[in-house]
């Protein structure tokens, strides 16, 4: 009963699909953002699991996961700024109401 690479990859796949489902079913812009965070975390788990099982001692996977965390923080900051602007202009964060750029 040893835990192998498969176990971690399957957990990450589950987390990825939950994030995808969240992104597709939420109307709230912040809710979509939370789904994106789940997807990014699933990708980072994959990086770290491959690092540990396929090349232990080399830290490439860990460094890539570090960059994922940095970019997730940057993305969250910008997206929250956009959501606040959306709320100021439309008084809602329902993404279906943000249609003023439609042709």
């Amino acid at each position: 009963m040893t835990i192998g690479l498969n176990h971690y990859l399957i957990v990450a796949a589950g987390l990825f699909c939950m994030g995808l489902f969240t992104m597709m079913t939420k109307r709230n812009a912040i809710g979509i953002l939370l789904g994106v965070e789940l997807v990014l975390n699933a990708a980072a788990i994959n990086f770290v699991a491959f690092d540990r099982y396929l090349g232990p001692g080399r830290v490439d996977g860990a460094i890539n996961a570090l960059f994922i965390i940095v970019l997730a923080a940057a993305e969250a900051a910008i997206a929250v700024g956009i959501c606040i602007n959306l709320y100021k202009n439309l008084a809602t964060v329902d993404v279906d109401q943000a249609t003023s750029l439609q042709g």
Binding site: I3, C17, T25, I69, A77
Partner: protein, 193 residues
């Protein structure tokens, strides 16, 4: 045996593979790792499911907090100690607080909810379910030539050394990106005069 791996690396009774320096944990009770893994994996998946099915944005944020904490425990299990700490400090402590600020600034009431149609729900469930099935089939069908047993934990010194040598350009670009994001976010969220 990631979590125990770094602590037990000085243990002379463990059989060590001379070529790779990897310890063979088969004799030392991999059950502890299995119990820890299934606990953490269960927490991760249950909290991820909580984010999926909650209709209230505040509940979603709380479930996401649990999910991020479980993912950091998963990093500890994978012997990435530094990354687990960073996940807790930056993600659970910084990014999630930012998102909760966003929730508070943009919701009319804590119980506001947006309902979605049945067709959208069905389509999303089918797409994610099919994707999960395909990923699971691919993962279980592939023969990974991975290293079993214990590995030494990745050291912070290694990460720092490689960040400042091979990964220097991405590291600097990430710094520039963070600065641009800081200016951009302040500009986006400023008060109109």
């Amino acid at each position: 045996m990631g979590l125990i791996g770094s602590a037990a690396s000085g243990d002379v009774t463990m059989p060590v593979d001379e070529r790779t320096g990897v310890m063979n944990a088969a004799a030392s009770g991999g059950w502890l790792e299995a119990v820890l893994f299934y606990t953490v994996a269960g927490m991760t998946l249950v909290s991820g499911l909580g984010v999926c099915v909650s209709r209230n944005i505040v509940r979603m944020a709380v479930w996401l907090f649990v999910a991020l904490g479980s993912v950091s425990m998963m990093y500890f299990l994978l012997a990435a100690n530094f990354l687990g700490a960073i996940q807790l400090i930056v993600y659970a402590g910084g990014t999630l607080v930012l998102l909760i600020f966003g929730v508070m600034l943009t919701s009319k009431s804590p119980w506001a909810r947006f309902d979605v149609g049945k067709i959208e729900l069905l389509a999303a469930a089918v797409v994610s379910g099919v994707l999960l099935g395909c990923l699971g089939a691919v993962i279980t069908a592939t023969r990974w030539h991975g290293v079993e047993g214990m590995v030494p934990g990745s050291s912070v010194a290694d990460i720092g050394r490689r960040l400042l040598t091979e990964y220097l350009v991405p590291f600097e670009v990430a710094g520039v990106v963070l600065m641009v994001v800081m200016v951009g976010a302040a500009h986006l969220a400023r008060q109109e005069k």
